[in-house]
Amino acid sequence: MTAEPGVAGPEVIVPVVGKVLGGRRRRPSGEPPPLPWKLPASTVWYATVIVFAVAVEFVLVAPALRPAVTRLDDGTLRLLGHLRSGVATWCALLVEKLGTQQCIQVLGWSTIAVLLAWRRLRRLFVYLTVLLVVVSVSTALATAQGRMRTGAVELIGPWQGYAHPAAPVAMFAAVVVGAVANLVPNGRFRSRVRAVGAALVLLLAGARLYLGVDRPTDAFVALALGGALSVIAYRLAVPEEAFAIGYRRHRTAHLDITPARHAAVVAALADQLGIPAESVEPFGLAASAGSTPLRMTTRDGAALFGKLYAVNHLRADRSYKLARMVLYGRLEDEKPFASVRRLVEYEDHLLRLLRDNGLPVPQPLGFVEITPEREYLLVMSFVPGARDLGDEPIGDQQIDEALGIVRALWRAGVAHRDIKPSNLLLAGGHVRLIDVAFATVRPTPWRQAVDLANMMLTLALVSDPEHVYRRAVRQFAPEDIAEAFAACRSITIPTQLRGRLHADQRDLIGAFRRLAPEREPVRIQVWSLRRLGTTVGALLLLGLAAAAVYAYARTAGLL
């Protein structure tokens, strides 16, 4: 007996692809994701310019073709020569100063200073690399081509070195593109600055043609190298959507909720989770560094909480784990995530695990894909009317609930690893635990003990240590508390909690240690070959980076 297509027994199989089924829909093959990753359309034009520049290089090395190109170049310069006048020459000589070493150095070092001041290290690294590439390629081409200046017109401006490519134009274009791409925030203002920058670069190229010191092909290849190549490099290495530029004193890891991203989030929620979201807005940005927190409202007025993760968050996580490895040794989970998808999958899994173990965490609703392998949104229930634990005094019930959270974490075999006031919410008189991104299953034992110490310290900030200790011994053995404070160090306390402890006049850690039974400090530093290797590697990296920066600056004409 054969089944009729589309029919399985009494139930009709409805194709999910491309159709709404219970609010959810599978994206058919070939359909773009909610927010497709694509380079700006103008990138193709810039790439075309580079291809033409490469073609020019090949033509110039062909003995049969080089004289023809030179004749064409010289013909153009002769035409330009007819335009020469006293005023025009004075203007051209003035504009030509843009390409001087001094001007390029001022612009280059200013860009480096701003990037360092705002700690945009990735942008700085890319900027230095681009300058190095432009200078190296430019010098190599000049040496290989060995082209003399034109003889068609009198050279009436300053010049230096071989003619091809026009090195001052290439360098000026590279520093201008670098400054605009790395320092100016996206938007209308950047468009204006970009237009001004492009005009200055073209003016410099034009002035040098007028003065006869460059030929058109020299200027063209220089523009391709310093301009087009730089633009493509920045678009690929530090894309705007992941490395947005801003000068407000807030975390820079957050993604802008542009209209396109807003629409993509709404569409993804509807298709992938069947959630009819209407509004998506940033929420509590100040408290979050590892993701972009969002508050979403559905059509029926329900609120949801989301954490938008992107490539820059993945990189931040990797740097964080590398630093932890060097500072503390190999802990239980310092392996970086391989992709943004893995990062989100992990947090979603942890949320579900803690929920299944009865912990008061937000209800996990899954995650949606915004841009494959680049952007994902983790969705969970919103805790309405919640305040940070630590904003106001608390009673015994809240203290017991908070301590009960640690008890439940221990029972589940999990360490939260980031217990601090902003990760403990008070809502409707009950304590809720949030942000489980750093949590780990089956951790090193002292890590779980530290969770208890951090919880007791958080509670003591809005109560007093004696009272918290009295409540704690109802759920924990005094030996557990002794272990917690024997493992407690400055480096095991989250930054926010450490800051509040610092601001508090009382010696809370000392108070708890006096209350608990005496115990030798727990050794938390773990030395291993891996840690030694990583530390030596990191130091070597720093030393080499310093040497490389010096070499870059020297080679790039910045010294």
Binding site: R66, P67, T70, R71, D74, T129, L132, V135, S136, T139, A140, A142, T143, G146, R147, M148, R149, T150, G151, A152, E154, L155, P158, W159, Q160, G161, Y162, A163, R315, R318, L322, P336, T534, G537, A538, L540, L541, L544, A545, A547, A548, A551, Y552, R554, T555
Partner: protein
């Protein structure tokens, strides 16, 4: 893994940065007519253009810098045990106090001005010709100085501007202005 990749990138980038030529390479050979054309453009009045005739063993040239009005380059010998010979090609030179030396260019004059004889053989050799001149500041160790002076003179040759202009026009279709 990322740290390793970054480390590798820096390790590879450092020598790249260090090796990237901060200065152009050495003095062009006398047969490289377009490169010599650029040197000729630096001093349009000069009737001769200096070039690398034959680099003796143990010698190298570096820090070649050509710009409007002058060309400079350094000639280094591994036997000189001192600073490199500094060559400067420009429109004019000061010849006061210099003794005549056998001329090295047709229609030109060569001078030698010694600064010290001992403990080192140091001074300036000057090739002057219509519209230009070449100065060589040398500082050689005694004992090797005679051979080094001979090698220096054999290393640097000259192309006449007239001949260079004709070759550039015929072979490359390029004009060389005076």
């Amino acid at each position: 893994m990322r740290a390793i990749r970054l480390l590798l990138a820096v390790v590879l980038a450092t020598p790249l940065a260090a090796c990237a030529p901060a200065d152009s390479p050495g003095l062009p050979r006398c047969t490289a007519i377009e490169r010599l054309g650029l040197i000729a453009q630096a001093v349009p009045s000069a009737s001769y253009v200096p070039c690398l005739a034959q680099l003796p063993a143990g010698w190298s040239t570096e820090a070649f810098d050509v710009r409007r009005a002058a060309m400079t380059v350094k000639l280094v010998s591994d036997r000189a045990q001192g600073p490199a010979v500094s060559l400067r090609f420009s429109r004019s030179c000061r010849t006061a106090g210099a003794a005549p030396f056998p001329a090295r260019t047709l229609g030109g004059r060569t001078y030698l001005r010694l600064r010290t004889l001992r403990p080192r053989f140091a001074g300036t050799l000057i090739d002057a010709f219509p519209g230009g001149c070449v100065q060589y500041r040398f500082d050689f160790v005694r004992g090797q100085h005679i051979a080094l002076m001979a090698q220096l003179q054999s290393a640097v040759g000259f192309r006449s501007r007239v001949q260079l202009r004709q070759e550039l026009r015929h072979r490359l279709g390029v004009e060389l202005r005076s």
